[in-house]
Symmetry: none
Subunit: 231 residues, 2 copies
DNA sequence: CAAGAATATGACAAATATGTTACAGCAGTG
DNA sequence: CACTGCTGTAACATATTTGTCATATTCTTG
C-alpha cells in the first residue's frame, strides 16, 4: 500500500497540467503527467496511479475513450477517474456516466475545489475497512499506526514483510500462487524471481515466531495461504 | 489442464525475432513469427495465437495499424497485444488508442521483463475458472483455499491427487479412461504410463479413507468414475 | 474352478518443490 | 564515508511428490 497517493494528470496543455500538479503537490499528493491518451495509457499500466484526472477534450483521442478502455481492463477497472470538462459540455455527462466516471469538474475550477473533490472520490472509492485493525489469535495488525504485534509485543517486520502480512490477514483462507503474491504485494510492474517470495515468507515466519508461524501455510504445488485452520 | 500458449512475434528484424523467440521458448511458450504486418495478419487468422508481440515500427504497415485491424474484426478482437516500442519513438505521431493495446514494452528490454509482462497480460486476460466449493456426502473441496476435507477434517493430498479429486468432483457420474484422465488432469502434453493413473487413484482412495473411498469407482475395462451411486 | 486379463498395492529412486542461509547491491543517514 | 537496514538472488539443504516396476489380488469367462 502506497502511503502518498499518486495522481496522473492527463491534459494536452502543459500550463494546465502544471497548475494542477502544483495544487495537488501542495495538498500532499504525488503527480505524474501525460499529454496524450496513449502515453497516459502506458503510464497507467506501468505506474498504477491511485487516480486519473482526465481532460475531456484532447487531440488524437478523447478522454472518454481512454476512460472506457481503462474500465474494460481488469487491471485498471478500479482506478477512479475524474473528468475535466468545459462548462458547456453538459450532455457529455451522460456518456461519461456510462463509461464509469467517478466525478466531473468543470473548467475553470479553483485548486481548492479540485483537491476537495479528489479527496472525496478517494475516500469514497477506498474500500472501507482497509484501515481496520485485524486481529487473529493474538496477532494484531494496525494499518493506521503501521504496526504489527504479537500478544502486545511489537514485531520487527521489514516493509515487505509488513505488506505481505497485511495482505494475508485481509485475505485469509485463500491459497495464492507466488505470481499472485508478487502481483498483489509487490505490485504488478516489478519483475522479480518467484522464489523471492519464499524468502520473504521465510522472513515473515521467522518474525512471527513459534506462536504464530502456523498461520502462514505452504500449499504444495501452488503457493501459500494464511489460515487459522489446521493445515 | 495446462496448454502451451502460442505467441506470434511480429518484427521486421530477424535478429530481434530470434532473440525473443529463444527467450519465450525457454519460458515454455510456443512461437511463430512474421516479418511484416500482412503476413502477421494472415498468420493470426490462420493460427489464432494466444498473444501477439508487435513491433511498433515496420515497413508497409505499422504495428498500430495492424492492431487496429485486429481489434475491428470480431474473430481477432480478443487476442491480447503487446507493443514493442523504441525509446526514441516518443516523437512519433500516435494515431489513437482505439487500437486497444494491452501492454507496452520499450526496447531494449531484458528477456525476463518480457516474459514477466507477457505472463501478466495473459493472466489478466484469461478468465479464471469457477471457484465453486463442491461437497459430496461430507467430502468437501474448496478451490479457493485449495483444501479438501472429509467431515471437516483436512485431507492430506499431494498436488496430483488434489487435481484428480477436483476433476472428479466436477465431473461426476461419468467414466473416464486413463488416457482421458491423463489429458484432463496431467495435461495434454505429458508422456506417462497409463498405469500411473492407477497409482494415483490408489493414493487418492487411501487419502479419502473408508468414509469416502466408495466414491472413486473402478470401471473395469474402461477406467474410473466418481459417483455417489452404488457401483 | 482354472487361466488369463485387468486392477490394486507397496517400494523406491529420480525429479521437483520448498526451506534456509549467505551475500552483494542499494538507498538512506549520521 | 562508514554504517545500517532492506532486498533480491544464488547456492545448498531438506522435504515431498512422482512415475515406474514388481508383485499381489480380483474379476471374468469358459
Amino acid at each position: 500500500m502506497r502511503q502518498v497517493k499518486q495522481i496522473l494528470i492527463v491534459d494536452d496543455e502543459t500550463a494546465i497540467r502544471e497548475m494542477i500538479a502544483v495544487a495537488l503537490e501542495m495538498a500532499g499528493f504525488e503527480c505524474i503527467e501525460a499529454d496524450n491518451a496513449l502515453t497516459a495509457h502506458a503510464l497507467i499500466i506501468d505506474a498504477k496511479p491511485d487516480m486519473v484526472l482526465l481532460d475531456w477534450m484532447m487531440p488524437k483521442m478523447s478522454g472518454i475513450e481512454l476512460a472506457r478502455r481503462l474500465r474494460s481492463d481488469q487491471l485498471t477497472a478500479d482506478i477512479p477517474i475524474i473528468m475535466l470538462t468545459a462548462r458547456d459540455d453538459e450532455d457529455h455527462k451522460i456518456h461519461g456516466l456510462e463509461a464509469g466516471i467517478d466525478d466531473y469538474i468543470t473548467k475553470p475550477f479553483s485548486p481548492r475545489e479540485l483537491v476537495a473533490r479528489l479527496k472525496s472520490v478517494l475516500r469514497r472509492v477506498t474500500p472501507k475497512g482497509i484501515d481496520q485493525v485485524v486481529e487473529v489469535e493474538g496477532l494484531r495488525l494496525d494499518p493506521v499506526s503501521h504496526r504489527a504485534s504479537s500478544e502486545e509485543v511489537a514485531l520487527d517486520l521489514g516493509p515487505t514483510e509488513y505488506r505481505l502480512l497485511q495482505f494475508f490477514m485481509s485475505h485469509q483462507d485463500r491459497a495464492y500462487s507466488r505470481t499472485q503474491l508478487l502481483d498483489m504485494v509487490w505490485g504488478g510492474n516489478v519483475y522479480v524471481e518467484e522464489r523471492t517470495v519464499d524468502v520473504h515468507i521465510r522472513r515473515l515466519r521467522k518474525a512471527l515466531g513459534d506462536r504464530h508461524q502456523h498461520l502462514i501455510q505452504t500449499v504444495r504445488g501452488t503457493g501459500y495461504r494464511f489460515s487459522t485452520q489446521t493445515q
